[in-house]
Amino acid sequence: MEAHRASIVLACVVVYAVACFGVGLWALRRTRSSRDFFVAGRDLGVWVTGIAIFSSTLSGFGFVGGPGLVYRMGMTSVWIVLSSVTGYVLAFALLGKRLRLIAEARDTVSLPDAVAARYDSELARGLTALAIALGVLGYLATQILAMATVLQDVLGAGVGWPLSLAACVGISCAVLAFYCATGGVIASVYTDVFQGAIMVVAALLVFAAARDAVDGGFAGISAALLADDPASIGPWGSMGMWAALSWFALFVASTAGQPHVITKFMMIREPAALRRILPLTLVGYTLSALLWISVGLAMRALVVQGAHPELASADAAAPAFLQHYAHPLLAGVVFAGLFAAIMSTADAFLNIGVAAVVHDLPLALRGRAPRNELRWARWGTVVFAVVAAGFALYSHHTNERLVALLGVFGAATFAAALVPVVGLGFNWKRATPAAANTALLASLLINLGMELFAVRLPWGIHGGVVAMLVSLGLFLGISLAQEPPSLAPDIEAVLDV
């Protein structure tokens, strides 16, 4: 990276980090209770919630991993983008009003809280909290490692301040832990607004730059890819139809079951706001995802045409594009956007992970939450971030599969566990606590087993789909085999609306 370009990028990243600190300090004064810390006092408006939902879904993966996948396998990975928008619709339709109303009825501050209320089961709370805590640890470690890697590149190769990966992990973790510990989810969602805006602007500018980078624009890109490998620019991409469809199914369910997304339904001031939040979320996500698709396709076309050397790894697609084909200021905005994408996901995960450990596991195990929960939540945030950072470093130096394993385990478990138990169970009075607990346990065991023993299925079908089908089958079968459960009157009122 030439010096002036790197200096601009660094300046953008520093301005961004300072803004995060500022929001953290501002949110500190607004966070007076654990309810403020975990669900923003249930006082969020339309714009804040809508932008926070899409920006926390589109992580660093969307800015680096996504373009890399498009570069490597063409349109196959674009099905993840399509599935996400469908998943949002499903999540809003199935869960929006239910979670918002259950939050009002029981003053719930986390998803396991809502699950415990729905099924009147502390075991269900504990299992949901365990699935969330384990999944979040993997996700968070991935995000921190991604932030540190980008920071190391910006500081080292760019402006000549070579820092070790551990130091960059420390800096990234410190920024994240500071604003999340001081301002809780209030800081998280308000930084998400800022981060979402950067992501949309960055994506639109990069989309235009990608079109201009290849002779003939997008038609030129298509012509180059058709000449090289027609399947890559076909609708299923190089991996084929079954892989694309299984990804689509898994990610639709996964988006609808993302705990950091659906927990935000409990934070909305008025239930009627849901109707305006969904369109806002979809438009924001769709615009941001343009970067994912355009950069991967443009870099593949440039390599095929011989205008750019073959990349060392697919994940280098976005950085290589920014370095060679984007204006330095645009590169700066996109790098800030990349940090924004990583941090907006990391802060959301950190908050729900801490809620699971500080609020829900003690409730499930001891029957009560800790006294002075807010203080525990703040320290818990710091400890959780440090543990995730340590895990990321340990995994990086000893076994790189560990972080990926827990990350994939998290995504698949969220889909397999939460889709039946939350997605269906909050819309079906017949669902029983035993069915919910069995489905939760099955999803945890099957997904963990698949990842630990590296089980691979034919035709590229993702193992998480099997876990989801088994969990769904058990949930439906056990519920139908048992007597209909008697529900608490307030829960019945939620399900009747």
């Binding site: 349109m75 674009v78 983008v81 399509l82 928008v85 469908t86 949002y88 619709v89 809003f92 339709a93 929006g96 009003k97 109303l101 009002e104 009825a105 624009g217 997008f218 038609a219 890109i221 298509s222 012509a223 058709l226 027609p230 620019i233 076909g234 609708p235 299923w236 139809m241 239930p271 009627a272 849901l274 109707r275 305006r276 969904l278 369109p279 979809l282 438009v283 769709t286 698709i293 009157p489 307030d490 009122a493 939620v494 609306v497």
Partner: protein, 85 residues
């Protein structure tokens, strides 16, 4: 209506793909091969149509102000009964 449209969208994708698999060198639509153009320009934005339906029919199909009022009244009633006990 929304689901029917979605189903049609998928069927059209499979039909277009059959043509593309037989002859990938066909004409481009919006700078993309026909089935890919259909996927990106029709299937991808289709959930926006659902979002519009959600927005348009929210009161009738999901949650009206009256539903919320009734729900809050029921909660208040349960709370009174709990206190009385």
């Amino acid at each position: 209506m929304g689901l029917g449209l979605y189903e049609l969208g998928w069927l059209a994708l499979f039909a277009l793909y059959r043509g593309f698999a037989a002859d990938p060198g066909g004409p481009l639509f919006g700078s993309l091969p026909a089935p890919t153009a259909w996927m990106l320009y029709v299937l991808w934005p289709l959930p926006l149509w659902f979002a519009w339906l959600y927005w348009r029919h929210f009161d009738a199909a999901f949650l009206s102000e009256r539903d919320v009022e009734r729900f809050r009244a029921r909660l208040a009633e349960l709370e009174r009964a709990r206190r009385d006990r």
